[in-house]
């Protein structure tokens, strides 16, 4: 058996979550995560669960247990948005899947935080990929409203929810049109009716009294959904709007004229590069599809891998959408590809620092965690990852992960299978005894 083989990623892992440690990581290639380039021979200091210093070794305060990174890349934990992490064990196994609820009369009132399973294998696998915080949300089923998403950590502890009901999410493209009854006009009418019902509830307490909106035997907006939209219409809760087509994006931006308090975030925005200056002028951030380059629908005819880079050049705040890749753990690969574009004539990519920020500080900022997550600055949460290689390179994985200063156990179902099948030797006993 080869189970004693030294594994870079697991040899140092602990079998149980550790207490918050005061940690000083020296001799590191430090990535702050704010868009800048790496700092050679840097030091990161975490105390009491928070970052107190990240920068050149010369400026670091003394003290704390030291870890010599031996030149390795040290970064903030990645922030994944938008995901379904914690809402399904196996998405095709309905019993394990809380991502959609097509049999409920509720939509906007749905609260993803009530369904999060912090020990889902997907959470454990993605933690081992360096993601420490995620925005997680349901998918719309019976209405245009997906419900309220949560910001979670991936520590696997009893309380994964950092912020419940952090945002409402809707679709105002082909998907929303289908949910609303078959036309974008129906989706927009439902949205406006819903916001008016919510507006009427502002300042009122008790059981909400509004008119239910329905079609056939389906409910598109219950009075509890209208109540859930009060924080949206008053600007206290962000409204994430999925839209890809240029015209759909413009229709989203136009909502601000009718409802000035809406705190809008665009999600997807495949054709955003065609209206980048308008998005920038509206100061609406974008959670952009990263590498989609095919006209997979009629709302994505202009798809190009240069979309994110072109929007960023126009001054748009751009994060990479974790929902449009096989799994959110590919965020690093997508970001790396955006860097590769800078070498292609006619393409627009991102610098290394910009690309890393698009999967760390920018999504954290959009999620309301600005300065707290996705960045190594004094006062930020002590989410720190030590990598085996350049974190945007394919094949690079975390060697060690800290969440709020606690070193994480990176064991999961996959690592256990890996360890069992390091060989196929069953000469003594079947594999079932090898654990």
């Amino acid at each position: 058996m080869k189970r004693l083989l030294t594994l870079a990623a697991s040899a140092l892992a602990l079998s149980t979550p550790a207490l918050a440690q005061d940690v000083t990581i020296t001799n590191a290639r430090v990535v702050v995560g704010d868009g800048g380039e790496p700092i050679a021979n840097g030091t990161v200091v975490v105390r009491g669960g928070s970052v107190v210093y990240a920068g050149p070794a010369s400026g670091a305060p003394a003290g704390g247990a030291a870890i010599d990174a031996r030149g390795a890349w040290v970064t903030p934990g990645l922030s994944a948005t938008v995901t379904s992490l914690g809402l399904a064990d196996v998405s095709a196994v309905d019993e394990s899947n809380d991502i959609t609820a097509d049999g409920t009369p509720f939509s906007a009132a749905l609260d993803a935080a009530t369904a999060i399973n912090p020990t889902s294998q997907h959470i454990l696998v993605h933690k081992a990929a360096g993601i420490t915080r995620a925005a997680t949300a349901m998918r719309p089923a019976g209405s245009i409203f997906a419900g309220q998403g949560a910001i979670i950590d991936l520590a696997g502890n009893a309380n994964p929810v950092m912020q419940a009901r952090a945002f409402q999410m809707i679709n105002l493209g082909e998907g929303g049109a289908a949910q609303a009854g078959g036309s974008r006009a129906a989706a927009h009418a439902l949205l406006r009716a819903s916001l008016r019902e919510a507006q009427a509830l502002v300042g009122k307490t008790g059981i909400p009294e509004t008119t239910e909106v329905g079609k056939a035997d389906a409910v598109l907006l219950s009075r509890f959904d209208a109540e859930a939209l009060v924080p949206v219409v008053t600007g206290r809760q962000k409204l994430y709007v999925e839209a890809d087509r240029m015209a759909d994006i413009r229709a989203v931006l136009a909502l601000k004229a009718e409802y000035p308090r809406l705190d809008l975030v665009l999600v997807g925005a495949t054709e955003g590069w065609l209206v980048a200056s308008e998005i920038a002028a509206a100061r609406v951030p974008v959670i952009a599809n990263g590498l989609n380059d095919l006209p997979e629908t009629f709302e994505q005819l202009g798809a190009t891998q240069s979309n994110a880079g072109r929007m960023a050049r126009a001054g748009v705040k751009v994060a990479i959408n974790a929902a449009t890749m096989q799994d959110p753990r590919r965020l690093q690969q997508v970001a790396g590809n955006l860097v590769a574009l800078t070498k292609m004539p006619g393409a627009t990519g991102m610098t290394w620092g910009e690309a890393f920020a698009a999967i760390s500080s920018v999504p954290a900022d959009i999620s309301g965690m600005g300065g707290k997550a996705g960045v190594l600055k004094a006062g930020a949460l002590g989410d720190v990852v030590i990598w085996t290689d350049d974190p945007l390179e394919v094949g690079s994985v975390p060697a060690r992960v800290f969440i709020a200063g606690r070193e994480q156990d990176l064991t999961n179902h996959q690592t256990r299978l890996r360890d069992r099948y390091l060989d196929l030797d069953e000469s003594d006993r079947p594999k079932a005894y090898d654990w």
Partner: protein
């Protein structure tokens, strides 16, 4: 994404290329050479179809004009495990003429590219694609990838669904360096139909893309998809044992057909007889290790060979068995956990197979991943390295070139940089196993079909003309 798990349930069957029967690729697998053909008629009736086995829907592909070209000074991966530093690749007349070190002679009057700091590989080959059959835009009117109306449909041919105007072909060329690909039917059926292997060249017709001489495949599928799709309609199969029962009955009927010289022509059974003869290669969607082992025994029982298991996420559990049976595993690097039979997917799958000496092929099953097969391979390589399995870069390149060609029955003509083979070549602007590298130039049969330095060499499909982003870098 998730081509296998979505409503676009896809079954896969390798389609036999019409011209395959005449060529050497057909002789690469075992079978029952004595099995009778059901095709010939002794009389001369007034009306007659082309006899079974004769070429139909034949390839009309012809290589495009080429100029004699050499690349000098690049790192060359030959696709069969060889690596040459500061190497030379010389192609002329659509063929590889010479591959070697810096002293390799090059004629004086030909085009020479400086490959310093760059890399050369054989053209990338995807053994599992649905481009054209599930094209973009993915609207219902284009959903032509799976004849999911019966548990076995070996009579359908994927090439009859291919839409050559799918913009995905050009993306795979420009961003992925893909020069050949196998289009498979979907996986809802136990036997989904014949696959077709294409040259990745723009064409007005599918015949203009068909890879000359490539054998058809038969797409088969294990596990969840067939039992879900048909069990859900209240018909057999609804269980894994039902899957096997229907398969075995179907094979027995095909054997009877093959032994009956008077049998009326039957397109479904003709495909199965092609498999029994070794002319059509089995490409079998199968996730779980235990099911793969059962399929191998079924193949022995019925007298056919499984060429490759596709989506074989548990292949690492039986690498020894797969090596002994000479079966390739066509796999993703990191897909896992989206359906029950993918729950045990691990990053080390490819490396563990390589450790056992089994054949690894990296596949996409996806219109996006086909643009980055090199990166998928790099992920799988890195996972092995972390557990002490060091696989050379040159071997890893073979996972998406030579090994894929071998499992598609075209390795005698492409898949590696060897004298006399088709000049299917990619010049990368950096190490192809790095996320930071891209294809700079792609040659197919020696013709420069993509050049990142020249926007007019970027194919634009009919569908894209006059639409937002026409001719963009994508």
């Amino acid at each position: 994404m998730f081509a296998d798990r979505t409503r676009r349930a896809r079954a896969g069957v390798l389609a036999t290329l019409v011209s395959a029967l005449a060529l050497s690729a057909c002789s690469t697998t075992g079978g029952s050479p004595e099995a009778a053909s059901a095709s010939s008629k002794s009389d001369s009736p007034k009306f007659a179809a082309t006899p079974a086995g004769d070429p139909v829907f034949a390839s009309t592909y012809k290589p495009f004009p080429n100029v004699a070209t050499a690349i000098r000074g690049a790192t060359v991966f030959d696709g069969k495990g060889g690596r040459i530093e500061n190497g030379v690749v010389f192609m002329s007349g659509g063929k590889i003429v010479a591959v070697g070190g810096p002293d390799t002679p090059i004629p004086a009057d030909i085009a020479v590219f400086d490959g310093a700091g760059k890399f050369v590989t054989p053209g990338i080959i995807d053994i599992h694609s649905h481009l054209g059959d599930y094209p973009s835009p993915g609207v219902d009117a284009h959903s032509d990838g799976n004849e999911a109306t019966a548990p076995t449909t070996p009579e359908v041919w994927a090439e009859h669904s291919v839409w050559p105007q799918d913009p995905g072909f050009a993306r795979a060329l420009a961003n992925g360096g893909v020069t050949a690909l196998q289009i498979l039917p979907g996986s809802a059926n136990l036997m989904g139909g014949r696959s077709v292997t294409l040259k990745n060249v723009p064409s007005r017709t599918v015949q203009g893309m068909k890879f000359p001489g490539a054998p058809h495949g038969l797409k088969m599928a294990c596990g969840e998809n067939p039992k879900r799709v048909y069990g859900g309609r209240g018909r057999m199969p609804s269980t894994r044992m039902g899957n096997f029962a229907v398969n075995r009955e179907t094979w027995l009927a095909a054997i009877d057909y093959a032994n009956d010289p008077k049998a009326k022509r039957d397109l479904a059974k003709e495909t199965l007889v092609g498999v029994l003869k070794g002319e059509i290669l089995i490409q079998n969607h199968c996730y779980r290790a235990d099911e793969m082992a059962l399929v191998l025994d079924m193949a022995k029982e019925m007298g056919y060979k499984v060429t490759a298991f596709h989506h074989a996420v548990e292949a690492y559990k039986i690498g020894d068995l797969l090596r002994e049976n000479d079966v390739c595993s066509a796999i993703w690097a990191d897909w896992y956990g989206f359906k029950m039979e993918s729950y045990d997917g691990i990053l080390e799958n490819a490396a563990f197979l390589q450790r056992e000496g089994a054949c690894v092929v990296i596949h996409s099953d996806d219109q996006n991943d086909i643009q980055r097969l090199n990166q998928e391979a790099a992920k799988a390589q890195a996972a092995g390295k972390r557990v002490g399995i060091d696989i050379p870069d040159a071997t890893v390149i073979g996972w998406l070139t030579y090994n894929a060609a071998k499992a598609m029955g075209i390795a005698d003509v492409t898949g590696s940089l060897e004298t006399g083979k088709m000049a299917d070549v990619v010049l990368w602007n950096g190490d192809p196993l790095s996320v930071y590298s891209r294809p700079e130039k792609v040659w197919i049969d020696g013709a420069l079909m993509f050049d990142a330095m020249n926007p007019k060499t970027r194919p634009v499909s009919d569908f894209e003309l006059g639409q937002p982003g026409e001719g963009d870098v994508k």
